[in-house]
């Protein structure tokens, strides 16, 4: 009975519709966010930012994008990184070709360009369903990789299509150190997460779940099915596009088209399966596992065998473990880590009185 719901009553719809209904949870979340924004930039080192937090934030955002499309709206996408790549290259070109464009404006515009691209590849959803539609997203994946490699304009005629992040500044403050890049990422991800939560709790979000679970019934209730799908494609791609900008500008600094390949798309898909399909919180849990797990594995190998693992072997082991985890979660806990977390909290409510 460490944590309990008893005595928690609501008197009006506003209180009831609170995003974090429980006061303890609300305090914990506020404290956590304050810690992330105020303390982490001071106490963190470059390794923490560069190897953990920056990829974690970018992947979380991409996962939110994919979860909107696949977890909420039920449209399987295998081309997540195509939309990330569009965002990254769009931001690069906006920066390059429109002098004086503020950084945040170029990021938002890049998201919008990715969204338009998403609508284009979502158009087949008018006639196609399920795997047939998933193959359309694969087409997007291969086409984008090819176009960025072959068409020099996108990378300002770099021979291998590589782009490098421009110097970044917001209101005259240079975003140059890992800590500042982290703050920029954190700010963008926090705002977009709030927007995503708002969306999923609105009629738009209910419509997504409705077409996922019962498309025919949804149509009968007057849900404009095709439009709802396109909106899911657009918003999902908007998120993925901005995640791509973060990936390229704050995490890697320099990216090539092959950095946005099919395996990375699968990686994002794995994040939402592990974290929880149809859950925004799950995106963060899944992304944390995806980033931290390989680091732990190599630490573990170092400690055990006293030498670093051959990178090829490390990758094989990662693949086996991630593949098994995916199967295990789908079989045992299809709702992902987020459900395990909730079950743990429910245990706390009754502990030590009953199971």
């Amino acid at each position: 009975m460490i944590y309990r719901q008893a005595g928690f009553l609501t008197a009006d719809y506003r209180t009831e519709r609170r995003w974090v209904p429980h006061a303890v949870d609300r305090w914990a979340l506020t404290a956590f966010l304050a810690f992330a924004a105020l303390a982490v930039p001071v106490i963190g080192n470059d390794y923490l930012f560069g190897a953990i937090l920056l990829p974690f934030l970018a992947l979380s955002l991409a996962a939110i994008g994919l979860n909107i499309l696949t977890g909420y709206a039920g449209q399987l996408s295998l081309g997540t990184t195509a939309f990330m790549a569009v965002g990254a290259y769009a931001a690069y070109n906006l920066n390059l070709r429109i002098p004086g464009l503020p950084l945040l404006a170029s990021i938002v515009l890049a998201g919008i360009i990715a969204a338009l691209f998403g609508i284009l590849f979502g158009l087949p959803s008018l006639r196609l369903k399920g795997f047939y539609l998933a193959v359309s997203t694969l087409a997007a994946q291969f086409f984008v990789e090819w176009a960025l490699n072959k068409i020099g304009w996108f990378s300002n005629n770099n021979s291998s299509g590589v782009i490098t992040a421009p110097p970044m500044a917001i209101l005259g403050i240079a975003v140059d150190s890992p800590a500042r890049k982290y703050l920029l990422s954190l700010g963008i991800v926090a705002v977009l997460t709030l927007v995503a939560i708002r969306l999923t709790r609105s009629q738009t979000g209910r419509n997504w779940i409705a077409i996922r679970d019962r498309e025919v019934a949804a149509a009968s209730l007057g849900v404009p099915v095709f439009r709802v799908k396109l909106v899911a494609f657009a918003i999902s791609s908007f998120y993925c596009g901005i995640a791509g900008v973060l990936w390229a500008f704050t995490y890697l600094g320099t990216v090539e088209p092959d950095g946005f390949n099919l395996s990375r798309s699968f990686e994002v898909l794995f994040i939402i399966i592990l974290g929880g399909l149809g859950s925004i919180r799950g995106c963060f849990l899944g992304a944390a596992v995806m980033v931290v797990f390989p680091l732990l594995l190599s630490r573990f190998a170092n400690a055990f065998f006293a030498t670093a693992l051959d990178p090829g072997i490390q990758e094989d082991i990662e693949n086996i473990l991630f593949g098994s985890l995916i199967v295990l979660f789908l079989v045992k806990q299809p709702l992902g880590l987020v459900r395990l977390w909730d079950q743990f909290k429910r245990r706390l409510e009754t502990w030590p009185l009953s199971e």
């Binding site: 409705a210 025919v216 007057g222 849900v223 909106v231």
Partner: protein, 261 residues
């Protein structure tokens, strides 16, 4: 001049891969009536409901709703002109709460778009407010208060049927299509459901077309009965007329196969 009927079906034909599911069926349903469609299994009753709600497109025939003709009715159009329905095999959104399921019945009435929803602009907030108020009315009407935050998929069968009725009613439909609303229910559940249907008809003013196998219920509830057999209409009239209709009796009792129907 007689009042315009709410629904007129004129020569509806529907087939699946060469098999005729509905053959040249015509009938009219007056405003505020409760009309039952009955017939043996496979008679085309559900197909007919699917045609009226725009899910199936008939090969021939016209649907007139409140005097307006529709040759190609889509589900979206049907919902817009005021047709709401329930499904034979319950088509609730299992992962959603009862409250959200009922609110989904107003999906076609949303005024805010995705961007407004994303940013929480006034129209989106107002939509939510109105949705919630209307949903509470329905929840009270159908006695669902205690389970409003329960996931629909976890509820007993009879309660799910009631939630699905609520989802149809919140749209304030002019025509309510109920596909076997009482199938698999216990006696007391059936009685409760009858009360809800009669109330919806009397207080909310919905015209009702229902498919039902329990002939007792049908005779009690409806003023008008249409009988289908092998996709053809074989009876159409008041309960008394149907009771004495020879072809209906033959179809139901399976007496001599009618030679020249």
């Amino acid at each position: 001049m007689p009042p315009v009927p709410l629904l007129e079906l004129d020569g509806i034909d529907l087939s699946f891969g060469g098999v005729r599911a509905i053959a040249n069926v015509s009938f009219t349903v007056e405003k505020a009536a409760i009309c039952a469609v009955i017939g043996p299994n496979g008679a085309g009753k559900s197909s007919l409901i699917n045609v009226i709600s725009g899910l199936y497109r008939p090969a021939r025939g016209v649907i007139r709703f409140d005097g307006k003709s529709y040759a190609r009715l889509t589900p979206a159009m049907a919902s817009r002109i005021g047709v709401a329905r329930t499904f034979q095999n319950i088509a609730l959104f299992k992962a959603m709460t009862v409250l959200d399921n009922i609110i989904m019945g107003r999906a076609g009435k949303a005024r805010a778009g995705a961007v407004e929803d994303a940013l929480g602009l006034p129209r989106s907030r107002r939509d939510e407010q109105v949705n919630r108020e209307k949903a509470e009315e329905i929840i009270e009407f159908l006695d669902l208060e205690a389970i409003r935050h329960v996931a629909a998929g976890t509820l007993p069968y009879g309660v799910q049927k009631r939630v699905e009725l609520g989802r149809a009613l919140i749209a304030q439909p002019r025509l309510l299509l109920l596909d076997e609303p009482m199938a698999g229910m216990t006696f007391s559940e059936k009685r409760e459901m009858c009360r809800f249907i009669l109330d919806a008809n009397a207080t909310l003013g919905a015209t009702v077309i229902l498919i039902e196998h329990d002939i007792g219920v049908v005779m009690d509830l409806s003023q008008h009965i249409v009988v289908l057999d092998y996709g053809e209409k074989i009876g159409d009239g008041t309960p008394d007329e149907i009771r004495s209709n020879r072809r209906v009796i033959e179809a139901y009792l399976g007496a001599e196969t009618p030679q020249a129907a």
